[in-house]
Amino acid sequence: MIAEAPEFGVRIEKEQGPDGGSRVVVVVSGDVDYTHVGELESAVDHEIDRATGPLDLVVDLAAVPYCDSCGMRVLLGASQRVDGGGGTFVLRGVHGQPSRALRLTGLDRVLGA
């Protein structure tokens, strides 16, 4: 039996942060690789661009089984932009290969995973 690759998708949600403020959650599903990283990048960039003040951004990787170096680069770029604007960037639901890759690269401490 050959399993199909789960379809890639990016969904934007809003939720209440712990401090009562609203934060944007980017829910990603599927492999974040060379083919799909552009979708993630434009979704995240769009949220950062349209934020009027400091943005609290959460990227949810609970449904992401694989993230390559292109994906890490987008996450790192997003976190640097959000931090630069005085906001916060948090990764959530990281497990499996992405978790190991983030640990290996030392990005886990930078990206707040």
């Binding site: 050959i2 089984p65 390559d68 170096s69 890490m72 790192l76 690269t105 030392g106």
Partner: protein
């Protein structure tokens, strides 16, 4: 039965059935001649002069018929009608005929008025004539227009598939030879010092091609101007052209010169003795536009292919040094991702032994693909080459490299996204006991594996942040001692993240890699790499994968005194049942 009178819509009850009526009653005759006269179509009726007679006359001919066949008139014997085609068509009872009369093209159709006529009865034949001169002329010009459109479409297809400058030039000459003119010459300036040309002669199988230097073109200053500047084609150019050493026979007839426009290259299209047709020049100009587009595309493609080739060559792992003076045995494997247009992001190198007796090595992976990845991996390698001149400690080197890459990125206005690399670097130093001491540092890269002599596989305990992205990056180093025959394998994540297996979606993973390596204990470094690639390719079963790079460093095995051929180690790794547990993870 139908008679001449019937055919006009009257039934003449006085006529005997089956008999032709060469002379209808007077009133009737005047009626049908009046009806005929009013028709715009030319009509002629022929038939025997009297029933059963062999003598055929024209029974009726209307005004339109008299205009098309001057001299024809009712009552005239057919043999005296002054038109050969008409006479022979009547005599042979042809179904129709076509003739040119006084510069007009006529088409005639015969209609035998034979319904219900008993066999053998004498018949009238009605000839309907049409002047098709204008129609034919129109369709001839339509055909020419279609031929031109077909020529342009066909040449567009033929030219655009080529993408090779010389071949496009030859194709441009061949396609036009015989259509635009018997001999066609195309000259092309592509910014280089030479002007290329191709000439095709209709009926000759192969076009001729060659090059002229600018010096040779001094004799043709106007042509030179038209080729290298935006100068319009001067009428004198055709005189200069006739003198160029590009002809089989020096042209003496009319020469038409049309510029070949192009964004990258410029040229001229030269037609020798084209048909004396007003359409030739506009058609040649249209053709020249297509030629110019195709030549520019070919020129661009040539540049790009050259760029790609240079880039690819610069990224391909350099050959490992042949001579490490027996200090280190190295093996390597590189399998770029299948998408050939994406230049890969993995790189590795082993440098010649330094003055202090250490052999530096490196295996890395830059984020991204294509040109960007190529530039970054070039920058990483060159920075390291320079930094190694002043610093040899791997951990310190990584820190310096990190700072150098970040500084370079700060200077680079085009960089909006972080660029980084992961890598393992270090050097190897032979020990007096025949072993090898490796100094290793990693920046965000999967830790290497060590394959011990007894088949134990260890993951080297070393971590560090990725390189070139973070100012506060932390790197650490470690030392690994290899006994003779033991191997350290550095690999890129394309190995462990290769997806395949029975379900097609499982990662190859560190566990399987370690298991594979434990079966390779004692195998030569190159064999270890090839074995891993082989197992990986089984795992992938033809699926796509990312770049895969492997670099194996091995302490030279001890020669075995009891073997008859001590220098030849076993080419196959020893298979092992299961694999011993890894010591570190």
């Amino acid at each position: 039965m139908l008679t001449a009178a019937d055919s006009l819509g009257h039934v003449d009850s006085t006529m005997p059935a089956g008999a032709p009526s060469p002379t209808p009653p007077r009133g009737m005759r005047s009626l049908h001649s009046r009806v005929l006269a009013g028709l715009s179509e030319a009509v002629v009726v022929t038939g025997p002069a009297r029933p059963g007679g062999a003598y055929t006359i024209v029974h009726a001919a209307n005004t339109a018929a008299e205009r098309l066949l001057p001299g024809i008139t009712a009552g005239l014997a057919v043999e005296r009608v002054p038109h050969d085609a008409f006479r022979s068509a009547v005599a042979q009872q042809l179904p129709g005929f076509e003739a040119e009369v006084a510069g007009r093209v006529l088409v005639a159709r015969a209609e035998r008025l034979d319904d219900d006529v008993p066999p053998g009865a004498d018949l009238l034949t009605c000839w309907y004539l049409r002047d098709v001169t204008d129609e034919r002329r129109g369709s001839a010009s339509l055909q020419r227009a279609q031929a031109r459109a077909g020529f342009l479409a066909e040449s567009g297809r033929a030219l655009h598939g080529v993408l090779n400058l010389e071949r496009t030039l030859r194709t441009a000459a061949s396609l036009a030879a015989g259509f635009l003119a018997p001999t066609v010459l195309v000259l092309l300036a592509d910014g280089s010092d030479a002007v290329r040309w191709a000439r095709a002669d209709a009926g000759r199988p192969r076009p001729h091609a060659g090059e002229m230097t600018r010096v040779e073109l001094r004799a043709a200053p106007r042509l030179h101007e038209a080729l290298v500047e935006e100068a319009p084609v001067d009428p004198w150019v055709s005189l200069e052209l006739a003198e160029l050493p590009v002809w089989n026979e020096r042209p003496t007839g009319r020469i038409v010169v049309v510029p070949v426009p192009g964004t990258v290259v410029r040229g001229v299209l030269v037609l020798v003795e084209p048909a004396d047709d007003e359409d030739v020049v506009p058609l040649a100009e249209e053709y020249a536009t297509r030629v110019g587009t195709a030549l520019s595309a070919a020129a661009l493609f040539r540049e790009q292919a050259h760029l790609g080739h240079v880039l690819q060559a610069s990224l391909e792992p350099p050959p490992l040094p042949d001579d490490t003076r027996g200090a280190v045995v190295v093996g390597s494997a590189y399998r770029p991702a299948r998408e050939s247009l994406r230049v890969g992001g993995d790189f590795y190198e082993v440098l010649p032994r330094t003055a202090v007796g250490r052999t530096p090595f490196l295996l890395g992976d830059v984020c991204g693909k294509g040109i960007e990845a190529a530039v970054l991996s070039g920058r990483v390698r060159q920075s390291l080459h320079a930094l190694r001149l002043v610093e040899q400690d791997p951990t310190t080197l990584l820190g310096l490299l990190n700072a150098a890459l970040l500084d370079a990125a700060d200077l680079d206005a085009a960089v909006t996204m972080p660029r980084f690399a992961t890598m393992v670097l270090g050097d190897a130093e032979p020990l007096p006991d025949g072993g090898l001491r490796l100094r290793l540092a990693t920046g965000g890269h999967p830790p290497p594996f060590v394959v011990r002599a007894d088949g134990t596989v260890e993951e080297v305990d070393v971590v560090g942040s990725l390189v070139g992205a973070l100012r506060d990056a932390e790197f650490s180093g470690t030392e690994v001692l290899l006994a003779p025959g033991e191997t350290c394998l550095i690999y890129s994540d394309g190995v462990t993240e290769a997806r395949g297996g029975p379900g097609g979606r499982d990662f190859y993973g560190e566990e399987r890699l370690a298991a594979a390596l434990s079966g390779c204990a004692g195998a030569p470094a190159q064999v270890v790499c090839e074995r891993v690639v082989q197992l990986l390719s089984d795992w992938l079963a033809g699926r796509d994968h990312d770049d895969v790079a492997l670099l194996a460093l091995q302490a030279p095995p001890r020669p075995r005194p009891d073997r008859s051929r001590p220098d030849r180690p076993s080419p196959r790794p020893r298979p092992r049942p299961g694999h011993p547990p890894r010591e570190a993870s």
